[in-house]
């Protein structure tokens, strides 16, 4: 069943249009990956879905409702959580406080959910009293994803979750993403490690110059010769 749908989105920064009519769809419990060269508009798409950028045209449908005109906070409350590529943590707060901020809009006791997040990222339990500023890059990324999980979202948007991480940590983060998905959360991610990401995705989109170029299952895109040559580095 369709969970999130972007229909013919046109959006940009000020006068500069970045996406010239992009459409995409994420079904419940799916992992969907968006790949494409730099400047294709992948991060812009994420920001438009969360409402940080206002599309000049097109609609965003979530869970059957048109959310195009909702503020970001309302979208968060409906179950869309977002992990930006950079500056995705509160450095002067502790790990525990970062997670607490993730659950800010929730009325429930955040400690229950925090235990589940520690179950996914045991590293965070060890460092829960430490300021995030002092953590390693991999641990910070876990804090960032953990924070977004605190509201138990229906879908989580990950912008380059493996950026800047050592290969060992890239694998660990991808393993965790699959684990999060198994617990029922749909995932929409943008990735530079395109092969690995497509390998675990149910569906993939290739964006080029702000337009849809390819759309297929993750496996089919990996096997597509043209995609391989142009966008997966041969």
């Amino acid at each position: 069943m369709s969970l999130l749908k972007a229909v013919n989105i046109k959006v940009g920064y000020g006068e500069t249009e970045i996406l010239h009519g992009v459409s995409m769809e994420v079904n419940e419990r799916e992992i969907v990956c968006v790949i494409g060269p730099n400047g294709a508009g992948k991060s812009t798409l994420m920001k438009a879905i969360l409402g940080l950028l206002k599309p000049s045209q097109g609609e965003i449908i979530f869970d059957g409702d048109d959310i195009t005109s909702l503020a970001s906070e309302q979208r968060v409350r409906r179950g869309i959580c977002y992990v930006p590529q950079s500056e995705n943590i509160f450095p002067s707060l502790t790990v525990e406080e970062n997670l607490e901020m993730g659950a800010f809009t929730s009325q429930d006791d955040y400690r229950v959910r925090m235990k589940e997040v520690y179950h996914i990222f045991p590293d965070l339990k060890e460092t829960r009293k430490q300021k995030v500023r002092k953590l390693s890059g991999g641990q910070r990324q876990m804090v960032a994803i953990g924070r977004a999980l605190m509201l138990n979202p229906k879908i989580i948007l990950l912008d380059e979750p493996s950026a800047g991480l050592a290969p060992r940590l890239v694998k660990l983060i991808f393993d965790r993403i699959v684990l999060i998905n198994h617990s029922g959360t749909a995932i929409l991610m943008v990735e530079q490690n395109a092969r690995q990401a497509l390998g675990l995705s149910h569906k993939g989109y290739v964006l080029v110059m702000g337009r849809n170029r390819f759309e297929d299952s993750g496996q089919a895109l990996l096997e597509n010769e043209e995609v391989g040559r142009l966008y997966l580095g041969g």
Binding site: F90, E97, G102
Partner: protein
């Protein structure tokens, strides 16, 4: 008198002036951290607090409230009530100014906000001068006799002990608020990264209101304590406070309330201790020199993370 024998007395003066500077600097650092602009009206907010306290004090006296002083302090219950009312009123006025002015300019960038703040500074100062005139105003006119502390050779007035204790209590309350309450944590989170705070669903406009309220209430307290220490207040004294509080904020690290506290103490102490070597007239220059040196060698300040 030898340099060394003057030292303990100057340290005491430094702590008193450091307490006052810190209270101003904490609020400035909080708003700077979250709104990312230099609030040049913050000194005049301190003066506003001091004059509001005077207004409440005269009102309470006019209503016939007895002045029975809290011996050994030089003032009584009316001053304490006026103190609290002035903190609340200053916070209310600052939030009102934010609503009608700064909130409309939030998307325009720091320079526009800075210019607006300079406008607010002139406005507040001239309103105060319009009502009270340029001459000094007094909370209490009686001269208080300082206590002599034996052995250390220190002289300190009971009012000055009151200033240090009140400043310390306010800092402890602020610390508990920032560390233990949801709003306090949201304030720290917003100072770290306001976009991410919004992404978390934190209502950042409410956080901004709380920040103005708490920051300016502390500034008002600083202004009133300065009035108690100096014995008089003038409409221009907020402007004179601006340099030391900015120096304290930059020294401690922009956006860090704990840094502002530390910076305020360093500025207060170094200003007083400088009089061991140079003329008292140069006291304000010391804050300026520390600020410039800090900007050259470590622009993010002692505790600043950004």
């Amino acid at each position: 008198m030898s340099l060394l024998s003057r030292l303990p007395q100057l340290v005491i003066y430094g702590i008193i002036s450091g307490s006052i500077i810190s209270l101003g600097a904490i609020g400035l650092s909080l708003t700077y951290g979250i709104l990312n602009f230099s609030n040049f009206a913050h000194g005049d907010i301190m003066a506003l607090g001091a004059f509001l306290a005077l207004a409440f004090l005269l009102l309470l006296r006019g209503l016939g409230m007895s002045e029975n002083i809290f011996y050994p302090l030089s003032f009584g219950l009316p001053m304490v009530i006026s103190f609290l009312l002035a903190m609340a009123a200053t916070a209310g006025i600052a939030i009102f100014i934010d609503r009608i002015l700064y909130s409309r300019l939030r998307k325009t960038g720091p320079v526009t906000l800075l210019v607006a703040a300079v406008g607010v500074a002139f406005f507040l100062r001239n309103i105060i001068q319009f009502i009270w005139g340029p001459q000094p105003q007094y909370y209490i006119k009686e001269i208080q006799i300082a206590w002599k502390i034996p052995f250390l050779g220190i002289r300190i007035k009971p009012d000055e002990i009151f200033i240090i204790i009140v400043a310390a209590l306010l800092v402890v309350f602020l610390h508990l608020f920032l560390q233990k309450t949801r709003m306090g944590k949201a304030m720290r989170a917003s100072a770290d990264n306001i976009t991410l705070a919004r992404v978390c669903g934190i209502n950042t406009e409410r956080v901004i209101m709380w920040t103005w309220g708490i920051g300016t209430a502390l500034a008002a307290a600083g202004g009133i304590l300065a009035g108690i220490e100096n014995k008089f207040i003038t409409p221009n004294f907020g402007w004179d406070m601006l340099l030391p509080i900015f120096a304290a904020v930059i020294l401690g690290g922009v956006g860090s309330p704990y840094g502002a506290l530390l910076g305020g103490m360093v500025i207060g102490l170094s200003g007083e201790l400088s009089t061991l070597f140079i003329s008292t007239a140069y006291k304000p220059a010391v804050a300026f020199i520390i600020m410039v040196v800090m900007l050259l060698i470590r622009p993010r300040g002692i505790l600043g993370g950004k």
